[in-house]
Symmetry: D3
Subunit: 193 residues, 6 copies
């Protein structure tokens, strides 16, 4: 049912991929019931695939001052600003599930300033957006603004690093015309999801 | 279940509204099962309410070279560029229903250049976005670009007028912090919807 | 002496127009001595014509905390930002007359920050410009800034709604290449005007 | 009747100015009937005054492929983009007089793309605006576009140099809050002007 | 002689770092004679350090249709657009050395459109800049423009991926106020370097 | 060794130039050991040459509250924002020499917010950048911000006038594709320079 992703940078067939990459893809298939297209798109370059997911997991799967849902909020807000089709739809789904909130992803994607989030989350997204859109202007005032909300230096690094990592991710997805799988659109929207 | 809209510009209670406005609100309630918040928000000013919906209906409910789904595409694309929470969510729902396509609204909202639309629809949205974002630069080249896709002058007026009308609508929704009703988020996403 | 407006969207001849529209045009001709081109341009679409002027009159002809001259200041400032030929010239004339000030329209059109206006009018225009140019960022700080100048909530709605309505109007004028009548350029500039 | 210019950088009284500067000011007073404020503002710095007017006269008073009216068109278009109160009003007056056209200055100031100018003048202003707003992107394509309209290399230098000189002038006028004399607003607007 | 990098995100002392990271740092120290600050800054987070340099090396140290100097051109051009102090200075040095050209890095950093590069390199940088600054608008026209210069699909991926990776890198360097080592400023500028 | 500057606007040979201009060029040749290309480029127009250098010297060679190095900082920061190849490279060299600091020019060119400068110099550059990039928005707040750092009104005029003068200079250099002489790149970078 999922439409294939763009053909310009077609990855090799699954059985030609390096073993570790094929194993990761099969594991996600088993867990999710489908293979998110980002895994297939980036398999075009095995070395970059490994570095990409190692970086991703280091930022998104860790424990710390930010919840996993909050990490996804950063992804959705910055990816929407970058008009990244894949990341907004796919991470919007993950955000709905992690936040157990069927409305939050669309709210943050359209205009995070109007979303139903806490003042702490608003400060987190303001900082993330500055890193995403004009990191050259990040100043002590920005650190002071976010410090008032109880984030540790480690948390601030996480916020910045997630915004920075998806600056990379959004650009790769846009250039490769990466498509979100159809399955993502409805995930986390239904009461029992 | 729907959260109320912002309180700064609270409309009078329903039974204090002029008869024609109350009647319209009750009709939409009957048809939709809920009252979209735009009707309540704009009831703050009955004369503007009447002009707004007269304008809206003249553009969105008419027959012509654009389908109703295509008219909603223009709304969603330009409202996303203006980061209008209400219009993207509410008209996204209407677009899904009119296009009988559960994915199209999110695709257009994130980046209409990547959406599954026809070249004719792409030209329509390119023109609409230019009207929305830099109408001062609309030139004969823009009319020529869209003319190649079989739009009549009347269709071009419709495209421009819808983009222009929602320039107004997006600004009012943003200033009044108009909230989309919760019901909109899921509308048109399920197979039988 | 007045040059005709653009020919792409030519309205039907006066005697083919619906009676109410012809009557309004003849009334303005009688009052002003000429027919402002906006009436002819929008007569291309009678229903939209009626909604447009109903909306316009509800905002521009009403009493309230803003003087009629101040309402025109909002039109001139936001229309200049949108580079709307028709609105800057035509409403600049109306502003000169309503303010009984031959210099004010040009000052506001070029750079309202340098115009001879009161601090209250400056705050009004700052708010209107934010609605016109980045309504998605209007925040409580903007409401607080303008509240300090004695505007009621109703006045703030008026400021926002005028800026929003001319966002529509500027776009229609730009797309239709609407020309201001030559008569407007000199109106209100002479001592006895 | 003319309001004084801003007081932050007040020039010395006329009788304390160097003789050559006083002489130039008195000559312009005799010719125009008033002293344009730019002469008083820049007299704050005699050396810069001399260089400024030497540069100005070298570009604006010369003969060549551009008429004097066309030179003023460049000033008005680029000064409007820079929102320079003094230059738009004062040079708008000079443009009206030199072009013997009471409408042209306002048209160019609001949106030169809609002004009643020739295709050659449009190309001239497109080039000038690129120099004014993004000279870093001027490319061979821009030279090719303007070359098609019969401008010599010397004319192209003039266009660029006028845009560049008023980039300086607009900034000085904005920082010093230079006010146009009231006399400029009406100059060239009346049939016999 | 090198000033230390910013203190907010201070890495642990060298002897507390994981062995593989300490080894890499010591290897670069041996090879270069100093430790580029990026290694110290990112050691704050060992897992991210490993992913970062794995990604970096996969893109920058590989063979292929782009020379190593050309890869550095992409880094310098996009990092200059992002105003990244560390990357422009450090990679400018590497570019000078790899291109054996003491002028090229400064030329590309200031305005790559004026640099002494080939038309093929210009097309490469135009594409890279689009990925860096508006990847959401990358279209078939951009692929067509670069295809004319003999780049393979693999080369185009490299160009895009380098621009995307340094979008991440520039943001981390800006947020952490990463300082280039003083040694970089002069590297590759002298005949014998 | 220096490559010639662009050929579109070629100045007459040295022996055809007016005596005063030839003399100035020979004097700078004697002092510097080479003729900076700006002298040759602008000799295309002797009158403008004279006005340009008179203006330049009045601002850059004077005594006052700003050191000569600080004046060059303004040139480098604003010219980098305008992507002016000639001015960043040539004035970067002069800045290194005047500041006796081999790193400062590159730091300011890349991102003056990260440069090793004093808070007073940072305030000076913030003001200069506002004049350079959005003089239309210079307000009393900007004057207040800089006043706190002990600048006199005369110093503030200097800051503004240097930014304004190089707005002109950057545009002329970009349009004429003026090349910095190769000699500039290394000047002031070596300990004994």
């Amino acid at each position: 049912m999922t439409q294939p992703t763009a053909k310009r940078f077609a990855p090799p067939p699954l059985d030609k991929l390096p073993e570790d990459i094929r194993a990761r893809i099969m594991a996600v298939q088993e867990k999710s019931g489908f293979v998110p297209n980002v895994f297939l798109s980036l398999a075009y370059r095995p070395e970059e695939f490994r570095a990409f997911f190692a970086y991703h997991d280091a930022l998104m799967e860790k424990e710390g001052g930010l919840t996993k849902a909050e990490r996804e909020m950063i992804v959705v807000a910055t990816s929407a600003a970058n008009q990244c089709h894949y990341c907004v739809i796919a991470h919007g789904a993950i955000l709905r599930i992690r936040a157990k909130n069927p409305l939050i992803a669309d709210q943050i994607a359209v205009n995070y300033r109007k979303a139903d989030i806490t003042p702490r989350q608003r400060a987190m997204l303001d900082f993330a957006m500055k890193v995403s859109l004009e990191a050259n202007r990040v100043s002590e005032e920005d650190f002071a603004a976010i410090a008032g909300h109880g984030f540790s230096d480690d948390d601030v690094w996480d916020i910045a690093a997630i915004a920075a990592f998806f600056a990379l991710s959004n650009r790769m997805a846009n250039v490769t015309a990466m498509r979100p799988n159809d399955e993502f659109y409805l995930m986390g929207r239904l009461p029992k999801a």
